[in-house]
């Protein structure tokens, strides 16, 4: 009788504990969803594996609002440790996407899981209802890249190809110019950026050598004249090229120098 009583006690207490922990997790999810609801310009990251983690780190550094969605305990423990907002959920479930994406002020979704079927399913669910949300999708198999474009992904990242381009540049092979950004990723504070010369800027009509661009440690790679993507000047001569309204300048340099240039231009417009 004593044994039976003891067993009943153990059993019932474990039922209570289980129910309680389930209740707690529901409360936590609810609390998290209401927290997310308060955020604006939200980025949703589906998948918190390696790629998701590195991305979240960058977004955090740059003060962007984001939330992580994953189902794996191991990944979520990491999100919890780093104090990132997260939701433990099955991303292929419509209700989850509805609660997290459609009900909030989401402007970008990044799909980083290592499962192309899951990524595609989330992509289609979102695009079917809200086409204006920009979606960046990781694709894990070369053969699937096309499918993601057909499904209207705004950007498709096949990490293995991107990393291969960086790798072959290393051995002196020429690589396409747009990989430059991937190469620069490895070089810390140097970055590639774009600067537009708006109408009314003091730069208009001036030579490069007559502006602050010439005194800072930056390199102008190319200028798209009046923003026209077909009409560009590669490696412009600072003593000859004169800026025009709407010129789009692609520059490489220290982040702080680029920031200063943008800052100066925006102050000219005040």
């Amino acid at each position: 009788l004593v044994v039976m009583g003891f067993l009943t006690l153990v059993l019932s207490s474990s039922i209570v504990t289980n129910a309680l922990s389930e209740k707690i997790s529901t409360i936590r999810e609810g609390k998290m969803l209401s927290q997310i609801g308060k955020l604006t310009n939200l980025i949703v990251i589906f998948g918190f594996g390696r790629m998701g983690q590195v991305l979240a780190e960058e977004l955090k550094k740059n003060h962007k609002n984001f939330v992580v969605v994953d189902l794996s305990d191991e990944n979520l423990t990491k999100a919890k440790e780093l104090e990132y907002p997260y939701v433990c959920a099955d991303a292929s479930n419509y209700n989850i996407i509805n609660d997290i994406v459609f009900k909030n002020d989401v402007y970008k979704v990044v799909l980083t899981t290592n499962n192309d079927a899951i990524n595609l399913s989330i992509l289609l669910t979102i695009k079917a209802k809200k086409r204006d949300i920009g979606i960046i999708a990781r694709v894990n198999s070369y053969e699937n890249i096309k499918k993601f474009y057909i499904a209207k992904a705004d950007h498709v990242i096949f990490p293995y190809q991107t990393v291969a381009e960086v790798a072959v540049e290393y051995i002196g092979n020429s690589v396409r110019f747009d990989t430059i950004d991937n190469i620069l990723v490895q070089k810390e504070s140097i970055t590639l950026d774009e600067v537009s010369i708006p109408k009314g800027s003091d730069y208009i009509g001036k030579k490069i050598s007559e502006t602050v661009l010439d005194s800072l440690s930056i390199t102008i790679i190319v200028i798209f004249k009046k923003g026209d993507r077909e009409n560009f000047v590669f490696n412009p001569d600072p003593d000859r090229y004169r800026f025009d309204a709407n010129d789009l300048i692609i520059i490489i340099g220290e982040e702080k120098d680029i920031f200063n240039i943008k800052d100066e231009i925006s102050r000219q417009m005040l």
Binding site: N62, P159, I171, R176, F232
Partner: protein, 229 residues
């Protein structure tokens, strides 16, 4: 032809191999997995299966005997480490580029003898971040690359006794008479540290330093020929 060895016909290995499929490179693929070896063969590469229990296979594929670069890019971190270490012991000069999965493994790989490490997840995440942060730029760059007169990036090694060997950057205008942009260099004596070219830079160039140049293929070739004269 430059001899290149790829260890691991993983997704990364496969993409690297594809980019090197031309007359300039003699690519050999080695892998433990017979299925991947078969796939590499099917896709036009000389590939062989190996268990890597001894260094014999590495020697046979040219490590220490003519191979210029080794890419250690299998999906197994510990195997990559093992092959990096073995290859470095066989050849002090070979360039080794090793894939890492976790950031924490970078130091270990460099210690084992890799010249550089790469991570698909870091590069992929960085790319996603840039699309979020600078949406216009990504579009412009891909458009720019698709144009006819292709602009590309190249790493150019300064040969011994060339006109740049021993020259101070503030004493010479290296971009004179070329339509190339000199972005920076990887310094040999500083362990291939990247140095961005600024106006007042006073770095003394040495043989073995690697210049990073941007320009048309033709212009980069002309410049390289000038260096070798």
């Amino acid at each position: 032809m430059r001899k290149i060895v790829i260890f691991g016909y993983s997704k990364t290995g496969r993409e690297i191999a594809k980019l090197l499929l031309n007359d300039e490179y003699d690519v050999t693929v080695i892998d433990e997995n017979p299925m991947l070896v078969a796939l590499a063969n099917e896709e036009g590469f000389f590939a062989r299966q190996t268990t890597l229990k001894d260094d014999k296979v590495l020697t046979e594929v040219g490590i220490g005997d003519g191979a210029e670069v080794l890419f250690c890019v299998s999906d197994d971190d510990s195997l990559n480490l093992f092959v990096t270490f073995s290859a470095r012991n066989l050849d002090k000069k070979i360039k080794i580029l090793t894939k890492i999965i976790k950031k924490e493994d970078k130091k270990k790989m460099l210690l084992a003898g890799a010249n550089r490490t790469i991570s698909p997840y870091n590069v992929g995440a960085a790319k996603a971040f840039r699309i979020i942060q600078k949406p216009k730029l990504s579009r412009v760059l891909s458009k720019f690359s698709a144009l006819k007169n292709k602009i590309s990036i190249r790493e150019v090694v300064i040969p011994e006794k060339s006109f740049l060997d021993g020259v101070s950057l503030n004493k010479v205008d290296i971009s004179k008479d070329t339509n190339l942009i000199f972005l920076g260099l990887l310094s040999k004596k500083m362990g291939e540290k990247f140095i961005f070219f600024t106006k007042d830079i006073s770095y003394k160039l040495n043989a073995g330093d690697i210049l990073i140049v941007i320009g048309s293929r033709k212009d980069s070739r002309i410049f390289e020929e000038k260096l070798w004269k």
